[in-house]
Amino acid sequence: MGQAKSAMSIGVSLAAVAIGFAAMVNYAAAQSAQPEAGAAVIAQGKTLVDSGGCAGCHTAAGAPAFSGNVLGTWNAPSLLNDPHNGLGTWTADDIAAYLRTGHNRYADASGPMAAIITGSTSKLSAADADAIGAYLKSLPAPAAGATAAALPATDPAMAAGQHIYTDECAACHTEAGTGLANLFPSLVASPVVAAAQPVTLVHVLLHGAQSVGTAQATAAAMPAFGGQMSDQQIADVLTYIRNSWGNAAPAVTAAQVTAAR
């Protein structure tokens, strides 16, 4: 019952976001035919982000703005300028491409964000999308906290996880975890991978997911592995992904997977 309730509130907030963005489409074009670089563009971006309601999903109650949130079975990942748990490796262009097509060289949108992209951000003008990119890139990087150390390769979960990854994941996401631009998401420096609560990872591995189809039409899908891997195996491979290639995040437990089935 609790799950259903939270799902309903997500739906309501998404609808609001979609309406908000739809109203803002071509905002920049209306404001200025030739948006200038720098402060003006960033200000346009801030206006779009604020009225588009991005914070509604990407900011948790009481947490710093855009530092990420959990919505039911999906993460609304951190949008901060953090190279590990945020968009630190993305350029403003990457952000704009993601908003307009759902795909870029790092990520492919699925779940609630796919719906947002289909319904509103894919209709943003290039200038508006660029402005949002510029604004998000202008946000200060979070204060460097104590950096978590990755689990050692000798950890039994890491060892098993590496085998699972090689056998089942590398054919698409590659041994180096980089994925393929516009097709398979990168697992390196990804806020979805690094999120404190890895709900998207668990959900997508269990049930599969389809990325959004736009002008970048591919809409590749992630196969479901829930019928093929045990909860422990799913936990192990996710633990490996969250602690490889520079990633460092808490291990995933079999109990977390069991709860998400």
Binding site: G11, G208, Q210, A224, G227
Partner: protein
């Protein structure tokens, strides 16, 4: 699962962003608006487990195990056909679509035809095993003092198999050469198919020849000509290295 379905359904309807997956056009399955996609698809084939026979009688199973063990005898290269589960594999196949000729064109009239016109039998593989094993055991009982094929010495079994292969063994009704070809094809399948189907236990067939099994990415090895591939085989459900907790 319930939460998953609800959240997805609600998401789609409340945001009203995506057209219905399946529009209805009479009772035909019409697909439009977007690529159809469903969660939780792609189940693996069910794992065939040894223990009980789905099609064979115990006598038939014994005969097939004996045949498999002579066709693929145990030696330093691999365990024998019986121990790798060839009979379990064939049993499951005969109980399933293969045994029933599901999907093949089985409309009469049946005629022998020319060899080049291919298989023309009205008998299913399951029926051919049943009749042929019965005939083979009848033959053995007459020739070997009441013993069935499974109970005669290996050298005699080999001789009988050679005669079947050549088509010189008379089994009364069933064609011994055709039966040999069927058993040998199915035995190879039971030795080399994914272990999920009940044979190739321990991936013994794959290990014998150095086939890495259900792997999917050799990009790093394409141009490493003449170098042995380093990873052991894996099956769809056979992953000895996946265990973090014993």
């Amino acid at each position: 699962m319930v939460g998953h379905i609800l959240s997805r359904r609600h998401l789609l309807s409340s945001a009203a962003l995506i057209a219905a997956l399946y529009s209805s056009s009479a009772s035909a399955a019409a697909i439009s608006g977007q690529l159809p996609w469903q969660p939780d698809t792609n189940a693996m084939p069910p794992q065939v487990k040894p223990g009980t026979w789905a099609y064979f009688t115990p006598d038939e199973a014994a005969a097939v195990e004996a045949l498999a063990d002579r066709l693929i005898p145990a030696d330093e290269l691999s365990p024998g056909g019986k121990d790798v589960g060839v009979a379990a594999y064939i049993d499951a196949q005969l109980a399933g679509d293969f045994g029933k000729d599901t999907g093949l064109y089985m409309q009469p009239p049946f005629a022998d035809g020319l060899p080049g016109q291919g298989f023309q039998s009205a008998l299913t593989p399951a029926a051919r095993y049943r009749k042929s094993i019965a005939a083979l055991n009848d033959y053995c009982r007459k020739a070997y003092l009441g013993k069935v094929f499974a109970d005669i010495p290996a050298a005699d079994q080999d001789q009988i198999i050679s005669k079947m292969e050549a088509g010189t063994l008379s089994l009364g009704g069933p064609n011994s050469k055709a039966f040999f070809q069927l058993v040998w094809q199915n035995t190879k399948e039971g030795f080399f198919a994914d272990p999920i189907y009940g044979g190739n236990r321990g991936m013994a067939g794959w290990k014998m020849i150095g086939f890495p099994g259900a792997r999917y990415d050799y990009r790093d090895w394409v141009e490493k000509h003449n170098q042995p591939y380093p990873l052991p085989p894996v099956g769809m459900a056979d992953h000895p290295d996946w265990k973090s907790h014993v």
